[in-house]
Amino acid sequence: MAIPSALVTLLIGMALTLAGLWIGHNVRLLPVDASANAPVYDALFEVLFSIGTILFLGIVGLLLYSLVRFRRRPGDSGDGQAIEGNLPLEIVWTAIPAVVVLFVGIYSYDIYERMGGMASFHDHSPHDQTAMAAMVHEASLTQQVSDDPDGQERIWGGIGQSNDSAAVLPVEVTAMQFAFIFHYPDSGITAGELHVPLGQSVQLRMEAKDVIHAFWVPQFRLKQDVIPGQPTLLTFTPTRVGTYPIVCAELCGPYHGGMRSNVVVHEPDGFDAWLQSNRPAQVAQAAAAPFS
C-alpha cells in the first residue's frame, strides 16, 4: 500500500524545517562579534538565514523534482494536464510569504530597537536627558527643526543611545579623502586610530570634510555614512578586546579601497594608560597643575 501523499509532504516539510534550522544555527558566516549589538544582530542573521534556507531548499527541491519527474520522454508529443489555476492553493502561497515577511519585519524592528536605532538623535548630550526627553521627542517628530531648543545642532541619521545609564565616551570623527580622524573632546586627544575602553558606551559624532564616506566596523556590525554638512551619530559598546578594521564603505575617490583604519578595544586600565600617554602637553600640564 502506498504511503498517503499528505503524509509524505508533511515529513518532507518537517525534514526541510529541521535542516534549515540546523544550517542556520551551525553554519557560521559572520566575523567575530565585538560590540554589544553584534550578538543581537547575529540572532537576527540566524533567523533570516534559517528561513531563507528553508524557502530556498524547498523551492529548488520542488523545481528539480518537477524537471526530473515531469520531463518529456522521447517520442511523447502530448500535453500536460490543463490546470489553469487553483484559488485555495494560491491563497495559501500568498498568505505564507505575507506571514513570514510580517514576522521578519516585526522581529527586525525589535532588533533595531534593541540596537538603539529608534532612540532620538537629539539627546546625545549626556546631561539632563530625562528633562529634555519630551521636548526632544516632539522636535524629532517635526523633523524640520534645524536646532533643538537647547541650541544643539541637528543630527541627520545614525544609531542613537541604546541605554542612557552608562557614562558615554564622546568622540568626534572627521572623515576626509582618504582618512578618518578621531578627536576626544574630553581629553583633547586627536588620533588616526580609534581607541575605546571595553564595556563603555561610545558615541561617535561624525561629519565629512569633502565627499560622503562611511564608517564601518564589520566586527561591530555597524555602519553609518559620514556626510558633508549633515552630522550623523553612531553609538556602540565594545565587548571584546582586540584590534578591528575600520573600513570606508562609500565610494570616495581613487584611494577609497585604501581608506582604512583600526579600532582598538582596550581593557579599561589600558585605555586610561593610552589616554595618559597621548594627552596633549598643555592639557596634561593643566590637569597636573592642581596637584603640584
Binding site: 500535453d79 500536460g80 490543463a82 490546470i83 541619521g157 554638512g229 549633515q230 581613487p254
Partner: protein
Amino acid sequence: MTIANPAELEQSLQPQGWLKYFSFSLDHKVIGIQYLVCGFLFYFIGGALAGVIRTELASPLSDFVRRDTYNEVLTLHGTIMIFLWIVPVVNGAFGNYLIPFYVGARDMAFPRLNAVAFWLIPPAGILLISSYFIAGAASQSGWTAYPPLSLTTPAAGQIVWILSVLLLGGSSIFGGINFIATVLKLRRPGLKMMQLPMFCWAMLGTSILVVLSTPVLAGTLILLSFDIIAHTGFFNPALGGNVVVYQHLFWFYSHPAVYIMVLPAFGLVSEILPVHARKPLFGYTTMVYSIMAIVVLGLIVWAHHMFTSGTPPWMRLFFTIATSFIAVPTGIKFFNWLATLWGGKIALNSAVLFSCAFIFNFVFGGITGVALAQVPFDIHVHDTYFVVAHFHYIVYGGSVFVIFASLYHWYPKFTGRLLNEDLGRLHFLLTFIGFNLCFAPQHWLGLNGMPRRVAEYDPAFTTWNQVSSVGALLMAISTLPLVINVVLTAVSGPLAGDNPWRALTPEWLTTSPPPVENWAGEAPLVTEPYGYGEHTCAMDLGGLSGRDLWSSGKS
C-alpha cells in the same frame, strides 16, 4: 496614368535585405532586432570591463590598472550593463518584437517614435564610452554619481555621462509611451485585456514605471549638471546644498529601474514555460495582479538604498516594511511558475534550462533581498560585496538568464532556423556554473568586511576573490558557444518551420521570419494564449471515482 502611393514610395526608399538593420526602419521587428544586436555588442563591452574589475581583484593590491581608471571602469561597467544592455534588450528588443504580435497589431502605435527611441541608443553609448578616450577621463563616481564626489571628479567625463544617461532615459520614456499606447489602444477588436499574453501585462507595468520615474532621474541629473557647470548649490554642501536629497531623487528612479529590468523578464518566462511544459500558465489572474502590485510597491521602496545615509528612524522603518512586502507578489509569481511546471511534459531544452536557472538565481537573490530590506541587517552589509552579489543574482541571474532563454526560444522566429541544442546546453552549463562561482562567494566577502567599489582589499579575502575571478572567467568563456551557435545557425542551421514549439501565441501563427506586416491575411484572434493541455485523456485515473470514468468514457 498611375498615382504614386505614398506607402509604396516609402517602401521603395527603405533599404532591403540586411541593410534594413542599419536604416531608420519603422518595422517593429527590425527595430526589435536592432535593439537586440546593439544590446549584445554593449554587453560584450560591459563584460570586458567586468573582466578588468575581476582581474584587478584577483590580488589584494591595486596592481592591474590605475586607481582612477579602476573607478572609471566600474562606473562604465554599471552604466553600460544597466542602460545599454538589460533595459534596452528586455524592453526594447523583446517588447518591440513581441508586443504588436500579442495585441494583434501590424506595428507599434508610434512607429517613428519607436525608431527614434532606438536610434538614440547607439550615439548615447558611443558618447559614453568615448568619454574615456576623448574627454580625458570618463565618469568615475560610480553609476550612482553621488555628489559631492561627482562634483569633484573630472567635470568633462561626468557631464558626458549625464548627457548620455539623459539620452538613454529619453529613449526609455519614448519606448514606454509607445508600449502603453500599443497595449491599451492597438488591440485587435475582440481581444480583451485579460486575454493578453502575460508579457503584455509585464510591459504595461514596466512602462508605467518608466514613464513615472525616469523623468525624475532626468531632472535630478540636470540639476547635478548645473552644479558641475554653473556652480549652483543644489547638491553641494559647501553652498548650502543637500547631498541626501540627490540620493532620494536618484533612487526614486533607480529602484524602479530594477523592476524595469526584471518585470519584462518575468513576462518572458511566463511565455516560455507554458509552451515547453505543454501546460496553461498557472493562475493567470493572480499573475496580472501581482505585476500591478509590484509596480505600486516598487514606487515606494527607494529609501532602502539609504538606510545608512542621513535618514531618520521612522523612514528606515517604513521602507523596511514596504520593501519586505514586495516579496509577497513576487513569491506568487514564482509559485505560479512552479505550478505551471508541475504535471507538465517539460522539454529540457536550452530555453527551459535558462528559465529554470532564472528561478533558482532569482529565488536566491530574492531571499537575500528580503534580508537586506531589514534595517539592522542592511546596516552591516550595505555598500559591501554582499550587495554586489545580491543585485547580480537579481539582474544577471534574473534578467540576463531570461534574455538567453528568450534568445533560444525566439531565435527560430527571428531567423527561421533552430539554434544548436548541444552548444546551447554547453552555454547554459558554463554560464550557470560560472555565474554562481563568481557571485556566491561575494556574499561571504561582504559579510566579513569587504566593501564594494574597491581596487584593493584585506589579504584575508584573497582566496574567495580568486574563486570569484575564476567564475568570471568561466562566464566570459561561456559567451563563445553562444556566439558560435548564433553565427553558425544563421548561416547553415536547420530550418525550424513556422512553429517549431507548437506554440499558441500569435507570433507563431505566421511565417518564420514573419512578413513585414506580421500576417499575410487578417491578424488571428487568440483569446486563449495558454490553451495547452489535455482535459480528459491525461487525467490521473487514481484520483477519479468510477462514475467519472464511466461518464468520460461515454462522451
